[in-house]
Amino acid sequence: MLALVFWRLASFIPTLIVASAILFVAVNVVPGSAALSALGIHATPQALKRFEHQHGLDRPLAVQYVEWAGKALQGDFGTSFQNAVPVGPEVRKRIPVTLQLAGMAFVVAIVLAIPLGVVAGFRHQTGTDGVVTTLATLFGSTPNFWLATLLIWFFSLKMGWLPTGGYIPFGEDPAGNLERMLLPCIALGVVSSGLLIRIMRTAVIEVMSSNFIETARSKGVGDLRLVSFHVLRNALIPFFTVSAVEFGFLVGSVVIIEDVFRIPGIGSLVLVGIINRDYPVLLAAAMTVTVIVLIVNLIVDLAAQVIDPRQVRTGHGS
């Protein structure tokens, strides 16, 4: 187990190198100029040149990349082109915001997916299964920004129950924080649950066709006990593995949801970075997201291994 964690952590290094290189190239080949964005359209050509020279943008891309990577490894992500604020602290400040949002949304997705998937899989090819499968398709194919707008319209504007957006740190005002986080988490979680419900359903159907289910039945085990002791844990093993991938998609959606709800997280920083061609901001924010996804993947994989005794070494036996 420990060796596995070590190797997975080691595998982060090439992943991060490749991800950052792709990002670096991508931000530089898209049309638009950082200098123009920073200085405005009325800037003189000389001013633009000076800006580019000052920030090293006139040098070959590879040189820029190596320099950026070298500094990033030491925790220095440079300063924003827009306002000369150091990027590192700005990103760090926003990490808990996005972690809370993505984490709670993931919990919403899983809490929806496990029971619905189990019910549909257990009642495979019945009306219940049909209803749940339709629901899952509906959830999964809803654009999350549209659902977000709908939620704001109903719960905030029409009913006046919840704020339309914004953010208060949990430490300052827990109730205010949760009030503001609820709708974005639902918008993200419900859409993510669409795929996860189907995964859980398929996993349950697969387990239900196993011989050991018949063995359990032959012992006189009833439906409820069958699901809770024989089906659930076996079905969770593939479910967790796939849900780690789904988490990656969920974090990608954070960019838009943070913007819709005006949440000052990393996602909105990514958006600002793109719009302003603010490369240091964009790179730092995007790499942070990558690291979060990698770590969550690792955690979820480990969880799947913990519930599967075939993967864990025990004291004795062959």
Binding site: S210, N211, F212, E214, T215, A216, R217, S218, K219, G220, V221, G222, R225, F229, H230, R233, N234, I237, I307, D308, P309, R310, T314, H316, G317, S318
Partner: protein, 324 residues
């Protein structure tokens, strides 16, 4: 019916059991046709046939474990005087009165639960015993099926057990509620020959120790002959011959049984070509007029165009063949 003169000690009586497989586009196909047999207390009874003969489904129907599309359409199953097909009784006797030793031991065990937990589960479901008491009973059960270091190995997971040990654990599981009848569904098929013999010995030993009856399902007539008291031979959903072990072996009357005995590989003689039964077993949905074995039968004659009945010849020995 051969079983008309039932002995009073008869534990399980199956009469005229017919199982069909429902099909969306075809008429229902018969899996078992008019199957009758009985198991007396303390007996080991063999139910023999090729795969597809309906032997496993016949056994599973007794405890209501037929697959979704299969149904018992007629027949009577009496277990200790109760009618199992009447109402929801099959589920109630499961594990407590009639236990199953499944085939394919590895897949028959839940991979994420310990052996001890699984062996003790019937006690949890039916017994209402305390956890510590269950653990101690499980230890006894595992010792009884000769699992070395039983109490310590109870916390192992199935993948940590060898195939033979897994089968032993499944046997212990079936014994846990001390049921009067145990259905053993090809419990040795997936095992090496030497391990097979150990499991066979174990079942004989357990019968002697507990007085439980076994319905032993197998495709291997030679294996069954060594320890069954009586044998039923099934072919294409029908019982074609039944009798005591000696009657079946020494006075074989049905050509199918004879072919099965002939098809068993022997070490002596010329092993260059193993004898086989030509042709294949008919599929359940195939319409067959007359004797169902006719197509493959070396002795088939004109009479076989009409289906033979299972006729009792002498004593307990019955056969379904015009020329027997």
């Amino acid at each position: 019916m051969t079983d008309s003169g039932l002995a009073p000690e008869s534990l399980l009586e199956v009469e005229g059991l017919t199982i069909v497989l429902r099909h969306r586009h075809r008429p229902p196909a018969s899996i078992a046709r008019d199957v009758s047999f009985h198991v007396n207390a303390g007996e080991i009874v063999g139910l023999i046939g090729e795969s597809g003969s309906g032997k496993t489904m016949t056994a599973k129907s007794l405890i209501g474990l037929l697959p979704d599309r299969m149904d018992v359409v007629s027949g009577r199953v009496r277990f200790r005087g109760r009618d199992l097909l009447d109402g929801d009784d099959p589920a109630r006797v499961r594990g407590r009165d009639i236990a199953l030793i499944p085939q394919d031991a590895l897949h028959a065990l839940n991979p994420v639960k310990t052996i001890g937990w699984q062996v003790g589960e019937p006690l949890q479901v039916h017994g209402g015993l305390r956890r510590r008491r269950i653990a101690s009973v499980v230890g006894d059960l595992l010792e009884r099926v000769h699992i070395p270091d039983a109490r310590r190995r109870a916390v192992d997971y199935p993948h940590q057990f060898s195939g033979g040990m897994q089968q032993r654990a499944l046997t212990a599981m079936a014994l846990s509620m001390e049921p009067p009848l145990i259905l053993a569904d090809e419990p040795t098929t997936a095992l090496d020959v030497t391990i097979q013999a150990e499991i066979i010995d174990l079942i004989g030993e357990l019968r002697d120790a507990t007085g439980a009856s076994f319905l032993f399902i197998s495709h291997d007539l030679a294996l069954v002959s060594s320890f069954c008291d009586r044998i039923y031979v099934m072919y294409a959903g029908e019982i074609v011959e039944s009798g005591t072990k000696d009657a079946i072996f020494s006075h074989t009357r049905h050509p199918y049984t004879r072919a099965l005995i002939g098809a068993a590989p022997r070490l002596a003689g010329n092993p260059e070509r193993l004898p086989t039964i030509p042709g294949r077993i008919p599929r359940p949905h195939e319409e067959i007029r007359g004797c169902r074995f006719r197509e493959r039968c070396p002795d088939a004659g004109t009479a076989c165009g009409e289906a033979p009945r299972l006729e009792t010849a002498d004593g307990d020995h019955a056969v379904r063949c015009w020329y027997a």
